[in-house]
Symmetry: C2
Subunit: 394 residues, 2 copies
């Protein structure tokens, strides 16, 4: 007799991740994948990271593999880095996490009870929905403008509503999936709203250092006055996803509480990994790596924009991000990117249907394209294949 299990509400909430399932298709070498959220595999600093592991092991010995509190030199480096970006920080303001997804989970656990309201962008990273909705929160979506980012009037309206939301999460830079960034004026207003209403606002920022045009804007957190803005960073996209390491910036009181919560969840991030990252950073290798990475991403973005112009220019529109790894494409109303995904895969090209990122449904005529983990000389061919599938439906 088959066992029948009674699962918790939390566990039944989490949707099957289409992104993760589509990753399976990305390994067939004949498919041109514009679907992933991966940094370029060719450019991952594998040898240099290994050199750092070797240095850490010979220098630190057993300390590199023993239990350990959060590694202070890593917190120090991050505090200095955030201070340089306009967020005055000490190591007490930094919590080491297993990456931004882990940060989203911890922030949701810290501030949300089941039934509370969380404000999220209506088109947003699926992991934000998992962290808040998985916590049992009711989502209050706000729209985003494709030129200026999340709608601040809608954020204020959501904050005013009774009962007040207990958390808000927005993506400031090179939005996943939209590719857009929030203007400085809106950043300042976001921080002001969080502090006026006393509602924690989380800035989920894995991408801002991936800017290849212009200067990196100050985080929303840099405009914080009373400690209601929280910044999430990650080494996944700027160093390597396989290190599983990121950070949260917040007031020391909140960081202490997050640290207890984090210890209760899974104790800590591998100290070998924390120490090896610190070695990588202290050698100045992150800057060198970012220079190389952003140059490659810039080239690929330009190639993708040109291909879109050539092949979809007659009927589609798209965002033109100044960094990051994603472009958001809007097709004519009659095109359903979910309906055509199987045919696209048969035609050896894959993308993510835009509706997958919507917490309000719709967006069926949109798609997310990645340009960081596809060879530059495959991009035009990929878009040509895509255009062939779309044009049959026009």
């Amino acid at each position: 007799m088959a066992a029948v299990y009674t699962y918790s509400e939390e566990s039944t909430h989490v949707r099957r991740s289409v992104l993760r399932e589509l990753l399976a298709h990305a390994v067939d070498p004949n498919i041109i994948s514009l679907a992933t959220g991966l940094p370029s595999s060719q450019l991952l600093p594998v040898e240099r990271f290994n050199e750092c592991v070797n240095t850490v092991v010979s220098r630190d010995g057993a300390r590199a593999l023993q239990y350990s509190p959060q590694f202070v030199p890593l917190r120090e480096w991050i505090a200095d880095y955030m201070t340089r970006r306009g967020v005055k920080s000490t190591p007490d303001n930094i919590l080491i996490t297993n990456g931004c997804q882990h940060g989203l989970t911890l922030m949701s656990r810290l501030f949300l009870n089941p039934g509370d309201t969380a404000v999220v962008e209506q088109v947003t990273f699926i992991g934000i929905e998992h962290a808040t909705g998985g916590r049992g929160a009711t989502l209050r979506p706000i729209p985003s403008d494709l030129d200026t980012g999340a709608d601040m009037d809608a954020l204020e309206a959501a904050f005013k509503q009774e009962p007040h939301p207990k958390l808000a999460i927005i993506i400031p830079d090179f939005h996943n999936p939209l590719g857009i960034s929030i203007t400085p004026e809106k950043r300042q207003r976001a921080a002001q709203l969080a502090n006026t209403y006393g509602i924690p606002l989380v800035e989920d920022d894995p991408y801002s250092p991936l800017r290849f045009i212009g200067d990196i804007p100050q985080p929303i957190k840099s405009y914080d006055t009373d400690g209601f803005v929280f910044y999430l960073g990650s080494f996944s996209k700027i160093l390597a996803p396989g290190v599983r390491c990121g950070w949260i910036v917040g007031p020391s009181e909140v960081i202490r509480n997050l640290e207890r919560l984090r210890e209760a969840h899974d104790l800590e991030t591998s100290t070998l990994i924390q120490r090896s990252i610190t070695e990588f950073l202290s050698r100045g290798w992150l800057e060198e790596h970012l220079t190389q990475l952003n140059a490659a991403n810039h080239l690929r973005r330009d190639t993708l924009l040109a291909a879109l112009d050539n092949h979809l220019g007659q009927y589609a529109t798209w965002t033109e991000p100044e960094g990051g790894i994603f472009i958001w494409v809007t097709l004519p109303e009659q095109i359903d990117t979910w309906d055509m995904i199987k045919e696209a895969i048969d035609n050896k090209v894959v993308y993510i249907p835009g509706g997958e990122f919507s917490v309000v449904g719709g967006y069926r005529n949109t798609m997310r394209l990645n340009f960081s983990n596809v060879a530059n000389d495959k991009i035009a061919e990929g878009i040509q294949r895509l255009a062939a599938v779309i044009e049959k439906r026009l």
Copy 2:
């Protein structure tokens, strides 16, 4: 004006971990620490693990640092290992975690809603209380016998109670903090009770391979009939805590659900770590390491037992574990191990007060002593210092 935050119920539940705070004292070289839960720092296989990292990086290149689904060869190794231990498994039965604490968190998230009842031993690992209580569960404690382990009549009584508990968690081997193991008869009965009542029973087992006397008994999971027993294992105590890697064994249906839940929490365990562990295992180095580790632990346990006999034999009793890393000491009623901890630290010895592990209060005349991470030639001196503090209070 200082910010006032409204925290979630979950976050306010988690107690400050005295264990973690006491670790701070363990770094003073003049203090003999019997307080940690650490494997021996001297014996951590640092060079060998580093060699595995080097091999993985040169062989696998970017795949070692990219996003990746759970690493199948590691699941395969664990499935074979569990099968050898009497738990017939395939890779589909294995979920990779960040260690047992992470496994406890995931199992609690999967099966408990806030307000549900969870059965736990009344003296148990603090992390079990954090995982279940932090989830908002009401704890239903059951006693443990110092010779035979968790009380199965009490477990059945708890399972019978309405509304039925939704989860039970017990530690089968070298119990933290008691040092005891559950008899084979009780294991069989535990599995039978879980299946009869259809209540998931979690076997939290980081320690069983650390057996230095006799053969490793079959896990409770080996007596499972209908899939209601779940096994948690970890590389922390048998390889190194700094790898932050463990596993859950269960029916494939449940493992798939756990995998989604785990991805929503923090995506995955570092693929570099997963691959390096797999390399370590495939070289047969775990067996070699365990042989060395268990010989050292055996010697240290014997030294500790002799020292207890010499210095506390007149008035104390203790468990005599055949493996693991902990001994549980019961002192005369009038001794309060919390009250005397500061004086013990002043006298350059530290332990964990037993009451810290109780979910029902009491146990103030008990303490947990660790023998794995204290030099063999310090143990007698440590117990002598401890006896001096105790004897002032007799």
